[in-house]
């Protein structure tokens, strides 16, 4: 699994192919830090899933465009199509459930 950091320029390219987990976060949010650790651990066990991290403080336009009202927000995207949006901290097991549901659909 690779972790890519999104900018206004590369965001669309990063989410257009395959299965992608997008993590919208801010640096001051404590649950975001906890979720970041969850994703970091997942990257090591599931290297075939791509993760995109969006700092919505640095890139508010991406946050607005994706209707991010709270952080952390996670989107599960398959080939550019949003499958699900989850607001709030997710556990490792919950993310794994989504990988099973969408990556292996």
């Amino acid at each position: 699994m690779s972790i890519n950091v999104a900018t206004n320029e590369n965001y669309r390219d990063l989410i257009k192919d395959g299965f992608v987990i997008v993590d919208y976060f801010t640096t001051t949010c404590v649950p975001c830090k906890m979720f970041s650790r969850v994703l970091e651990e997942l990257t090591l066990d599931y290297p075939f899933v791509n993760i995109v991290k969006v700092n919505i403080t640095d890139y508010p336009a991406i946050g607005k465009e994706n209707e991010i009202d709270g952080v952390p927000t996670v989107k599960f995207i398959m080939n550019g199509e949003e499958k699900e949006k989850v607001v709030g901290l997710m556990s490792e097991d919950e993310v794994i459930e989504k990988i099973s549901e969408y990556y292996y659909a």
Partner: protein
Amino acid sequence: MFDSLELKSRAVSIFDFRKVDFKDEYEPFETDEEALEADLLLIRKQHSDTVTSETAAEGDFVRISCESENPRYNKKSIFLTVGKNIFNREIEEALIGMHVGEEKTVFAEKDKVSFTVLDIQRRIVPNLTDENVALWDIENTKTVDELKKVLIKKQYDEYCKETVQSLSSYIVSETARKSEIIPDEEDVEYEKNLAHNMGFDMIRSMGADPESMSDEEISKIIGADNKIFLQNIEKVCLDDLYASVLGFELMKKSGDYPSQQDYKNALKEQMEYKGISEDEAQKQYTPVDFFRAECSNYCYDTVGAYLKEFFDNKEI
């Protein structure tokens, strides 16, 4: 400008927050051994190498092609981590010991699935030795013991942050209780209104509609009793009013008033956060609102700095 503002709520007498006894209000620090082990394993995995393997084993990253009438198991190329059983337990069990190019047919629950191994990658996790730690060069650590000390210090810093936060609330609340503060009715109304809006925003962010749903429906979605949830927010906001009065008194002593630029920055944040114009931001967040919030922040910051110094001077 802000050095001439006054709060409507006022203090008749102020208790010295440094005299609040908090020694029974926090748990002493203890190393979380489980978290430490998890951190060390994560570091080892982060420094692992992936090599191609001929035979699949548990934990390997394997790419297969599979055929089945069930679309979940009908893919030209799909990756899985053997033994995690997210894809399918029967297939993943059958994969163990298979070679690249080998084919097999199994029943994945009731679906007949034929699959071929296309590629096998294995992660080689390095051992935790002084030699490896020196190679990894994490925060200049050269030995396992040094690395553990760094990780324990991080745990301690996190513990301090959380403890300072909860103790600050306790100290401010105790200081307010022991002081004589006369809250202004308008200020109380303002805080109640703020709590109402904050509560509704939080409920909306959890996917419920506070205006059209019943208390019962909202409680189910937010996983807590809606009325108690809103009452708690109101309590926090009213506590904040007392913190503002205490902060105002501290500010008067230090002369450390917020500047006009601080207000401009706060307005900018409101504009960006809410997507509103500067005029609208000024209407929604007046200098008095800003000053009241700054006084409260000043109170918590002062108490927080005092507590931070206390914990910084403690031995881990």
